[in-house]
């Protein structure tokens, strides 16, 4: 049995609205997510999936509505943001640092997990390239490195925007397993993906922003 996350709570979103260039992306959006649950966002391109994720992470302000974490508005609740692991379209890794330096940096600035950097490198198959500058990695390898962020910290709320772009099948399977482990530990996950993702055995809610 894996160790459960110590910090986790319910997420509630009430009457959220987001406009872009005078166009309504979504309106009156309500959703809730509790520990050990997954929310799978669906919708066509431009339906506001990324915008919703960015609002949840606090990068973007909602035009209307509120987000509650543990029944408190997140606007004054910094613990909520500190507990997020976000992997978006941008990888958030530094090209001028080596693979290992990037991983250690991710770890050192948040609540670190128990897993050793060396083991993470082995698991994502970059052990032999630990001293290579991130600039020299392929797109898929960079993506792996970006997703390795999830393993470096003890954050219980993962927000993933198209996590599996340019990854090979074996790596996708590895991260699917990682997601399952995360959720069974009581973690929460919101993701968007146009890839088929195997989340069997988990309690997954679907939300379609197009309809």
């Amino acid at each position: 049995m894996e160790k459960q996350y110590s910090f986790t709570a319910n997420l509630n979103v009430k009457n959220l609205a987001c406009w872009r260039n005078d166009q309504v992306l979504f309106n009156n959006l309500n959703l809730s997510l509790s520990p050990a649950n997954v929310l799978f966002l669906q919708g066509e391109n431009g339906s506001g999936k990324t915008s919703l994720l960015r609002i949840l992470c606090g990068f973007r302000l909602a035009d209307e509505g509120d987000i509650f974490w543990d029944n408190k508005s997140v606007l004054s609740n910094y613990e909520y943001f500190q507990n997020i692991s976000y992997v978006g379209h941008k990888n958030g890794i530094k090209d001028e640092l080596t693979v290992e330096e990037n991983l250690n940096l991710m770890r050192s600035m948040a609540t670190a997990s128990d897993i050793k950097t060396e083991n993470v490198l082995k698991q994502i198959g970059l052990f032999k390239r630990a001293d290579v500058l991130a600039r020299q990695l392929s797109a898929g390898q960079k993506r792996k490195l970006a997703l390795a962020r999830l393993m470096m910290t003890e954050n219980s709320f993962w927000v993933l925007d198209e996590p599996f772009t340019s990854l090979d099948t074996a790596t996708v399977e590895f991260f699917e397993l990682l997601i399952k482990k995360h959720v069974t530990r009581g973690g929460m996950l919101i993701l968007t993906s146009h890839h088929e993702i195997n989340l069997s055995g988990l309690s997954v809610n679907h939300l379609n922003l197009s309809s």
Binding site: C57, K90, M109
Partner: protein, 222 residues
């Protein structure tokens, strides 16, 4: 809280070291522009001596602005900035680490090379030490004020013009007090009042600008 600060500070120094060419550009600009003046003016020692403080300070100001452009750009483009907003340490603290690292990389070499350039412009030695003192007090202020403008324009594609319109007026007080201090020393007066004002502006910039920078970066992310 301070581990994240030192990590960012060290990270930025390391990245700068690995991207030396980009960092050295403003310093070369500084040296080149100042050494063009004696060539253009000719061997008029009195005139050069008279305008030397103005030349060095105006060039330092422009070099700082040139160097600031890279301050947040790569973090903004590769997504590191988004990740920084999710850390325990407030963004306003982390930006001070970035600015401090940036000043060590660009401001400090500028000050170190100034005595050489001052000799080129026939500055007397007592003025040179005052010049270094004003630069030491002034360039961190320039970096802090400039960072607010950079943070506001980092999301724009054509930020350069707006940036100079935005921050050059704010640089004027620093420029006035610095050159006034140098004039006073040249005429044999004390420059304490000007230095005290420059220190006051620096303290003000250190205390207030981090909050403005963090807020501006969040606007740019939005």
């Amino acid at each position: 809280m301070f581990t994240a600060w030192t990590q960012i500070f060290k990270r930025d120094l390391l990245i700068a070291f690995r991207r030396r060419s980009e960092i050295i550009h403003p310093i070369i600009f500084f040296v080149m522009v100042i050494s063009l003046f004696p060539l253009a003016i000719g061997d008029d020692k009195v005139l050069l001596q008279k305008i030397a403080p103005a030349i060095i300070w105006v060039t330092a100001l422009l070099a700082t602005m040139l160097s600031l452009d890279t301050l947040f750009r790569s973090d903004f483009e590769d997504g590191s900035l988004e990740q920084m907003t999710l850390l325990k340490t407030p963004l306003s603290m982390l930006v001070t680490a970035k600015i401090m690292a940036h000043w060590v990389i660009t401001g400090l070499p500028l000050i170190l090379i100034t005595p050489l350039l001052a000799v080129l412009l026939y500055m007397p030695s007592e003025s040179i030490s005052m010049l270094l003192l004003t630069l030491l007090l002034g360039t961190p202020t320039l970096s802090l004020i400039g960072a607010v403008g950079i943070a506001l324009t980092v999301g724009l594609r054509q930020g350069g013009v707006i940036l100079s319109l935005l921050i050059l007026p704010l640089y004027i007080p620093v420029l006035i007090f610095a050159t006034l201090a140098l004039q006073n020393v040249e005429q044999g007066f004390s420059a304490e009042a000007q230095l005290a004002m420059m220190l006051a502006i620096l303290v003000l910039a250190i205390t207030l600008s981090p909050f403005a920078i963090a807020a501006a970066l969040k606007v740019s992310l939005n």
